[in-house]
Point group: C2
Chain length 582, copies 2
């Protein structure tokens, strides 16, 4: 009945089902994946070689009735950043893993035979590892259909498309959501790691699972109510996000002058009106579709949507701000329907929206594509990236690598990972997070936009340096803890503003496991996660000079505020200096 | 009459001619370029951005009558390794710079206008910086012809081909030699740095120079005689190299099981007989050409050659072991004439033989090319790399980057720079040099092959670890000093075996400048150069984990000896640990 560690060795196609070591017992999600990677992976190993490991773990509260607890974490040494990576996603896998008692799934080794791909099926008592030559070269939706034919329709599916098979750094791992569409374990090229292990898809049995056990069901129910209420009453998680989706941010960030446009040349986009959340919501109202939609069971924020074309036919879902920004503002495509079409294609082939979009934005500084050319972007992905042509390989290798191949200087990456949809020169707290998180440029690692722009958790002027280092540090610590619970990042808004929210979250964890965590324990957990991630990175060869934004942001002022990135090296190093000495 | 620093600022197309600061007075070659880069370049800058600098310097003895003193050094932050780089080459530039009184030429900044390339002409009293739209897209020999039309035929010319214009990491800087052919400032992608500064070619006036001044001409002449005798009487520099060229090494290294073949899968090549120095010498005898040939005035080793085709027409010159190994053994091309044809093409387009050859060897693990296909290799370079097609950009980005783009694991690089023609698993002292030199994999940085295979400076078993760390350390220190004199690396053989050689070299420096260097001073100079290079690298983000060979060499035994790379991290870190703490 207790949780187990499921360990698959692809070198000899064997598996073990192990008891959970005591030291891992209180960990979940990012806390668990980063701990396992840190303990078991040689930081100097090749990320696509036999000594890297791919670790999946549901959050501590996944599988429970807690709202918004359905995130699965995946960890490994990243082929994109060369450091440790945790990426998390909605979808159905977290809940099913938790209910089946899968504390973590660890994939090790690489098969001797390089010509075969495998399907890994995890059930309560065994793991089946079978060659699937018939699925090689297929994309995500076709693989999903095949899995739904084979198993109970609720089966959890995690799969890679051809870019993952070809070990491209933009490849993600796609996770089936409750509607049979995909969510993404997006960042850091972990789809390439899955491809290197010759695994085409992983399924988790959904027939024989049980509801999770609560040490104190009554207390859990009580805390859960408070938590849900807090989520629903917050103006952002309760109103803004449900009404317009994450894409509500286009107008807000554009108005703040922080919407990176034309490969990070301005903080304003000419296209904001065509691509903003309000336009999207209007289209959905006219054409049918859904403005509110959850990525996993139990979501009360419902920031996702179903987006139809002009004829009312389904185009895509999970049509997020980052995607729309990357293609609409940074690559300059005006047509929201074209962006939706690209989004659907990317869900099918399995590539990270941010890394891919920013790579194409950078490619618009070369002869590969022109700004605004949506057809060309679509064709590049469908006929070059998905097929693995030389040009497709270049785009598929991500922003930093494309920059190297074309000898470019204005390359928006940190630790070789593409910078997301908030311009660090205009949203400086967010820039501190990009620079100093162990993950490489990642907006979710410490979402300072909340306090810089959205007045959540107070207000700190986004154009000034004052207070940003501390803001980012505190958010990063809290986020590392939240990433361990299986909660989605948007619980940050009520957590920052409603004093009842975080205690309720902690009460749920305590009631689930019969323990007595305090708020300090949670802070310590977050801090400790970052500490072990930084230690891994240091051994892997990342240094303080990896905790920097691209040099061009220091000497190129960003319109409309004409600000530059002006944090000194010493200031940036002070974010975690105390922790490294601990 | 005294030497000057010539400083060119490409941002505003200006120049200054400055007195040599006292601290740089006793430096030349690598010692000077590494010092200037270390003092003036921000280690965190983008190597292709406005804050990198490209520094040319002749050696301390360049321009004198000392044998083999004609090497020019060039330094910068490398776009390939991300660390400091010094590359040196024969040709006529060192002598002419020295005689003109150019202690160093420093190129800074980047022009605002990205569409123009410039020609920089250095004379005694001024520097001309002129746009040369007519030379854009031209290759080296055409640029050279144009310069020889404009100036005295002795003019020194340093130029880049189209790969350099396109800022590819395999691009070198080509230096005119006495015969009007090219030598290469090959490694580390410094041709890309020259391209980033929008300089198509640099010429040094050869009309108004004077013979260099000797503080003690008699003492110099005396020491010079001893030194030359030592070079001529050594069996390697006096017999083996003149008779068969550097390519004498193919059979020797193949026999030792250390000739990397088929992308570092074996230490033996099937093709050794077809491509070895003995075959080459026979061809030259039959077809005409020259077996002995110097790359700069005053060379007494004459390891170079002129190689003709079957009809007796000129094919190429400077046809070196590394080139022949990379294409003949590692890429597996059997036809020496085909390799010569590729060599001539590479001289023309200006790409590094080692980086390019090893990249194509790695590419043979993909669908880009098959092992042994010389025609395809030629076409890839002529129609893809030189034209900058996507595939050409991939090959042009070098071994490490191609590995990333194709998600490969068996990638033979250190610090992202391709490993040269001695297998570290079978020539372990050389492996220590590859791992620990600040330069990235570089055989010339500490040529342990001498003592591991050639019985020069004693003998240390190449397959065992004993003694290799110390051997490599001592050679690296001596080499850093020798690289500062303008001497070619092959003076190492007599220096290791003849007790009169090194004192004579030091006497020449003393007699030239009227100083009193001791052998200890020279050791200190070498050690100090490595120290500042390592400090630069550390600030640039390279760490001890950069001082490692590729992981696959640790678990993949190399035939025929079936040895693996078995130095521990601690052993490798001990090479320079004492120096970092100094």
């Amino acid at each position: 009945m207790s949780d187990k560690i499921y360990r698959v060795n692809m070198s000899n196609l064997s598996y073990t089902i192990e008891d959970v070591p005591a030291k891992w017992m209180g960990l979940g999600g990012r806390g668990l994946t980063s701990t396992i990677v840190s303990e078991e992976v040689d930081p100097e190993c090749h990320p696509l070689g036999p000594n890297n490991k791919l670790v999946f773990a549901p959050g501590l509260l996944s599988g429970t009735t807690a709202a918004n607890s359905g995130r699965t974490s995946v960890g490994a040494k990243s082929p994109l950043t060369g450091g440790i990576k945790e990426s998390n996603s909605g979808g159905t896998s977290a809940g099913i893993m938790a209910k089946l008692g899968v504390k973590a799934l660890i994939i090790e080794g690489i098969p001797e035979d390089d010509n075969t791909f495998y399907h890994v099926h995890v059930t309560k008592n065994e793991v089946l590892i079978e060659p699937v030559p018939e699925l090689v070269g297929k994309q995500n939706f076709e693989v999903l259909d095949e899995m739904l034919n084979r198993y109970n329709k609720k089966v959890a599916v995690m799969t890679i498309g051809t870019p993952g098979e070809m070990r491209m750094s933009i490849a993600n791992i796609s996770v089936k959501d409750p509607q049979g569409k995909f969510r993404s374990l997006g960042r850091g090229g972990l789809g390439a790691v899955m491809g290197s292990k010759k695994i085409k898809c992983i399924t988790i049995d959904a027939e024989n699972y049980k509801e999770v056990h609560y040490a104190d069901p009554e207390k859990f129910k009580e805390a859960s109510k408070v938590f849900t209420k807090s989520l629903k009453e917050n103006p952002i998680s309760g109103e803004g996000l449900p009404a317009f989706g994450t894409n509500v941010l286009v107008n807000i960030i554009n108005e703040a002058g922080g919407l990176p446009s034309h490969n990070f040349r301005s903080g304003n986009s000419d296209n904001a009106e065509e691509i903003c959340g309000e336009t999207m919501a209007e289209n959905i109202k006219e054409r049918g579709g859904k403005t509110t939609h959850g990525c996993h069971a139990g979501c009360v924020i419902q920031c996702s949507q179903v987006y139809n074309d002009k004829e009312g036919h389904y185009l895509t879902s999970g049509f997020e701000y980052e995607m729309i920004w990357a293609f609409g503002a940074n690559l300059g495509i005006k047509d929201l329907d074209m962006i939706a079409k690209i989004d659907a294609l990317m869900d099918d082939i399995g590539v990270d929206a941010i890394e891919t979009g920013v790579t194409l934005g950078l490619a618009a500084d070369t002869d590969i594509i022109e700004f605004g050319d949506g057809e060309r972007a679509y064709e590049l992905l469908k006929y070059e990236v998905a097929k693995g042509t030389p040009l497709g390989r270049i785009v598929g290798s991500g922003t930093g690598n494309l920059g190297k191949i074309y000898g470019l200087v204005r390359v928006p990456v940190v630790k070789n990972q593409a910078i997301p949809a908030y311009e660090p020169r205009a949203v400086k707290g967010q820039g501190v997070t990009y620079a100093t998180t162990p993950m490489g440029a990642d907006h979710t690692a410490g979402y300072a936009v909340a306090t810089n722009i959205l007045n959540s958790g107070g207000y700190i002027d986004p154009l000034k340096k004052d207070g940003q280092l501390e803001l980012s540090r505190n958010l990063q610590i809290a986020t590392a803890a939240v990433d361990s619970t299986g909660m989605c990042i948007f619980v940050a808004f009520p957590a920052l503003d409603d004093p009842k929210c975080l205690p309720a979250l902690i009460d749920m964890i305590n009631a689930r496991f019969g323990i007595n965590l305090t708020a300090d324990d949670v802070t310590n957990l977050g801090e400790n996660i970052i500490k072990i991630e930084r230690e891994f990175n240091k051994k892997a060869g990342l240094t303080s000079s990896s905790d920097r934004l691209p040099e061009f942001m220091k000497y190129e002022p960003l319109p409309p505020h004409n600000t530059v990135w002006d944090f000194t090296d010493e200031e940036l190093d002070s974010v975690w200096g105390y922790l490294d000495d601990k």
